[in-house]
Symmetry: C2
Subunit: 767 residues, 2 copies
Amino acid sequence: MNQDYIIPDNWSIIEEGFEPERVCSSESLFSIGNGAMGQRANFEEYYSGNTFQGSYIAGVYYPDKTKVGWWKNGYPEYFAKVLNAPNWIGINVKVNGEMLDLNTCTSVTEFRRELNMKEGWHNRTFKATMPNGIELKVDALRFLSLQEDEAGAIKYSVTLLNSDAEVTLIPYVDAGIENKDTNWEEKFWEPLAVNENGVRGFVTARTLKTKYTACTFMSNSITVDGEVKELTPVAEATKDLLSHTYTTSVAKGSTVSIYKFAGYVTSMNHEVEKLEEAANAVLDTVTTLGFDGLLQTQKDAWAKVWEMADITIDGDVKAQQGIRFNIFQLNQTYTGADDRLNIGPKGFTGEKYGGSTYWDTEAYCIPFYMATKDENVARSLLKYRYNQLDKAIENAGKLGFTNGAALYPMVTMNGEECHNEWEITFEEIHRNGAIAFAIFNYVRYTGDYSYVPEMGLEVLIAIARFWHQRATFSTNRNKYVILGVTGPNEYENNVNNNFYTNYLAQWCINYAAENVAKIKEEYGDDYARIMEKVALTDAEISEWKKVADNMYFPYSEEHNVFLQQDGFLDKELITVADLDKSQRPINQKWSWDRILRSPYIKQADTLQGFYFFEDQFSKEDLKRHFDFYEPFTVHESSLSPCVHSIQAAVLDRMEQAYTFYLRTSRLDLDDYNKEVHEGLHITSMAGTWMSVVEGFGGMRVKDGMLSFEPKIPAQWNGYTFKVNFRNHVLKVNVTQGGTTITVDGDQDLTILLNGEKATAKAALKTI
Amino acid sequence: MNQDYIIPDNWSIIEEGFEPERVCSSESLFSIGNGAMGQRANFEEYYSGNTFQGSYIAGVYYPDKTKVGWWKNGYPEYFAKVLNAPNWIGINVKVNGEMLDLNTCTSVTEFRRELNMKEGWHNRTFKATMPNGIELKVDALRFLSLQEDEAGAIKYSVTLLNSDAEVTLIPYVDAGIENKDTNWEEKFWEPLAVNENGVRGFVTARTLKTKYTACTFMSNSITVDGEVKELTPVAEATKDLLSHTYTTSVAKGSTVSIYKFAGYVTSMNHEVEKLEEAANAVLDTVTTLGFDGLLQTQKDAWAKVWEMADITIDGDVKAQQGIRFNIFQLNQTYTGADDRLNIGPKGFTGEKYGGSTYWDTEAYCIPFYMATKDENVARSLLKYRYNQLDKAIENAGKLGFTNGAALYPMVTMNGEECHNEWEITFEEIHRNGAIAFAIFNYVRYTGDYSYVPEMGLEVLIAIARFWHQRATFSTNRNKYVILGVTGPNEYENNVNNNFYTNYLAQWCINYAAENVAKIKEEYGDDYARIMEKVALTDAEISEWKKVADNMYFPYSEEHNVFLQQDGFLDKELITVADLDKSQRPINQKWSWDRILRSPYIKQADTLQGFYFFEDQFSKEDLKRHFDFYEPFTVHESSLSPCVHSIQAAVLDRMEQAYTFYLRTSRLDLDDYNKEVHEGLHITSMAGTWMSVVEGFGGMRVKDGMLSFEPKIPAQWNGYTFKVNFRNHVLKVNVTQGGTTITVDGDQDLTILLNGEKATAKAALKTI
């Protein structure tokens, strides 16, 4: 744990006191988003201190050129970077001509931030004394509307505390922004037009190369002590910025407020020529509703989200706050409303990881969205990959694969590979397996097999073809081997026979072959259509099976475990517990070569396989592998503790499960990995959800039936969660005394509770 | 072999006929240089066809920022790139106002280039018909002066063949040049001043970041039919270019010639404020000598080089041309005159490899310079590394090594690492061993032990410390292992227990320990001084020895060979002979991941160890390893065939040795690796020299005595070479009938000839 300034609260994230060195961290933690756009918790008013400005529009990116010393064949030409979008929140404040800047105020007191997760808004209040002696109070409330997802709203109030003064409020929209991660001080937005119309203003700009056009708009109104003040703004425009200056005399004790509606309309959803028109339409809608009206729709929309997705924890405020923070951020990032979008590892909270789609979606996020939303949302995430199958085949082709083999990109915005380090792009091929696994997982959970004949089978065939070609025969071992890969543990690169990868490869081939047979049998028309397209023969399937049936898995007789990769036992096997704390996190302390030859595991790797394929191993197997690998795991990936938490719970190690749970659920709030200032770990938040529902709740799908083996950490009085299973909404309530499972409405549902059949309407059992 | 247009000739490289698609290749092959600067064989006159413009100043570079998707700790911040320097050769030609451009002429005949290696000049002649119907003949002779190494000279003559015409000659100097390899269209030279003074002109410019200032200067004179024509040039200047325009009427059959003296003076050798003054001084010297006078000094200087370095081959013109081309280019690249300089893999012929110093210098070049120059030249190359020891210690420190351990950079301009791919920079650590080996090799050859107490021992200790810390103990193997390295075969990355690396590491520790003991014994004062500095204890040496004595070497019982690395036998062991030719070169046809998991060896790796440490293995050992590894070697590094040629000769496989010899000596002339247009493979040219002297000549140093086991390929009548050994110059003449070894002057020298003692003055023995 690296920080603990967030005040525990069941429904809100709260910070009290102004500490400049916490600004970047809080900017991440208090981020807001609505699936279509996101905003770090930057101050509205000017701030000269250290800050990381970030506004993001879903799907808008820039292809940075790949630069390497020695170009290798097949390198992707571009690396997609998320772009900092124009600033829509800016409101500069001057009092008696002096700029309000928290960095130069002589005192700042009663500084408080609240991110209200129940209702979906962010509020910041403080008192400050300016260098000119003016004392004032600021109250700034803002939100990004879930209902009108092109709009945000801000109410920014200034109260004068010690004298009358002239207050100047300068709201602006600004496309002259820079990326934090830029190496070359380039700008990525080309300004096109700056216009204004009364109290409305518009800045239109276009991204370089990718040519996304965005009109950033605003409309402002002023009140003094609640009375509307009809002021005519003084407009100032540059090539990429428009500001409106409102000046008014304010008496001591009085409050001047500005209401700012603002946001983006982009060429992803509108004709380029009609962007200002679209912006006006959004402004018409939100001004008609008014600030309070729009805020009410926000509260209603979030209430609806929580109705299905909430998890309550009784008796442990920090744990409660953690899980709600995770659920809240996931819903801020992805709503399922637009099937061109996906879930970037940092969501809308930072620039790292290029804002693109990783295997995180399939491995971690799909279970969350399956269980807390309509199943179409998960189906839409699967379809995203089906839509990009041609590009995945093209991508494999660039690496020399043939016959319709597909390698999905490691990182993508539009189906093309847009990461560019060979040890990841070319070698972290296990991602292909997670995409197949997600199809299996979706069918298992939803019972909706129709996706497979409609779309999934083509994906499965292309992936099986990849694994068949990627394995090579080792005469030495008389087995098929998979050489030169990087597993989920990215602290090993270019290793041979990564257990997880080999296991997935075998499974993918078998699963594809099974489904080909099933569809041939049961979906004759689909089978004919697909075979026409992919030209798959029985002989080819036999070739696949030869690889799957003779796959090599490294194993240590001495330790009685599968080895993470061929060379694992050659390492200096010093456990994390014996590693000096000053060396952690190793990715910030050690050089890459030292990390690579160390035994330290960034995230569940062999254990990820045991998580996916739990049914294929005994509890005893799990225990041995967990005991062997856990001690070397540094959990420097956010995707790691959740899997370990679930497995610790399976092994009845509730203390350990609880510790991992806290680590995953409060990863960002407590900044375990010393990097929260860069943004939040959005995709791993779905893993936190899994550690409650699958870990503590012990939820599984077995033979088409939902099963639970609920457990409860000693620290908790009880917890509840809901899951949407095959059109039944189950509410699971676990207490120290027992478990109640109810089904919404009047349906009946037979489930397995601790191995025994029960009816879910009122399942109750002592643990 | 990819091309064969170079006309065989004993002393010259000759091309006949104008083929636009050969232009870039010839620009490399006909490059000229004088150790201080170099020039690709670009045309003087304007050319609108495909060309790769390149002028280079030794030591002038630019630090390109490293850009990666995922920054790893310890990454070098910069990648040094060689900079294309201002153009000094340009002479545009207009006839009746129309620009001469070989790309637009309606006919080009009798086109001929000659690079005369004996005398060190380049000549190009052709006849052309211009679009306006003018027929003319051009004769352009140029050289970079060895004597005045800041100056080049050009004589460019135009003869009108079919009519009188107005001829305009426009010599210029131009700092507005670009790099071929730039990704972002940046310029790297900032223009400072453009001045002229009569027939002289000066353009001063400064490199960005590194702030090297160079004044590019010229002075021109015109003759018609040999008579000086006093023309006043019309000057035209931009911010980075100065041109002088000379216009004159020329009669049909007459010849107008321009003599252009030009070159660079830079801030590396002069005060920035006095660069024009320095340029004037150079121009004074060369204009006093005149073109013919300066050309005579050139012929004399090259005669002196050849007197010592020449190798003659009788009965095989192509082989003769090849070896002289190699010796010529090595001498164009590095003369030993400036100990701040070193030998870049492409010399002054291209931009690739950043123009920096690699391990090539120690592993390949030092033997050539030791034997063909005064021993101070080799000593100066060793000293270059001693001077950079502190930076090598700093570099190791960045990777977490302590206690004065040094890791020399993989690529450097000034002692800092300036390459930036982790699999090379962090892992190709065997370079450290080559640097220690070069000290051993120097002492062995020259008998000059004084270098070790003076400088070498500190380097050896720092390197031993590195290896001691870099090895780790494997409980599994009960041995020390070296994990995560890249060997000389860069077609494997991040492998464990690379035989060559482990062997070198063991050797380095032993050699350092031996020399510590010897210096303690024999050089008490030096010992005290060094120990004061490095604080080495006997206990530490014991720790080193523990690693060396228990080093692990992967071995295959089945094949009875050391394995290149732990995982080698898991690969699909298909020999190069069985690989479809369409797949070659694999580095241009295959993706990186496919190369990495293939068994194909880029360059001698295990065999490089057998080359360095020949005495420690039997001929039988060598044979087994050669037979095992040679079939998988694709020789896609220029540094590969020479080692294989030497070893084939040792194994009495003269046909194979001869084939490899041709491949190394004519690598660029015949463009075996399809990349000659990018520049020449300068450092490997020293390997070519080794394959004659050490391979065919069988020269070794044994127990302080020079030994020879001369062999001769069936294709040759005879060959001779000279070596400078401990102040004796031996001339070795091998014919099908026997070997004569003579010593220059009256000295006597006892040598070993085919294992028997002989006096070198007139050793003769039948092979």
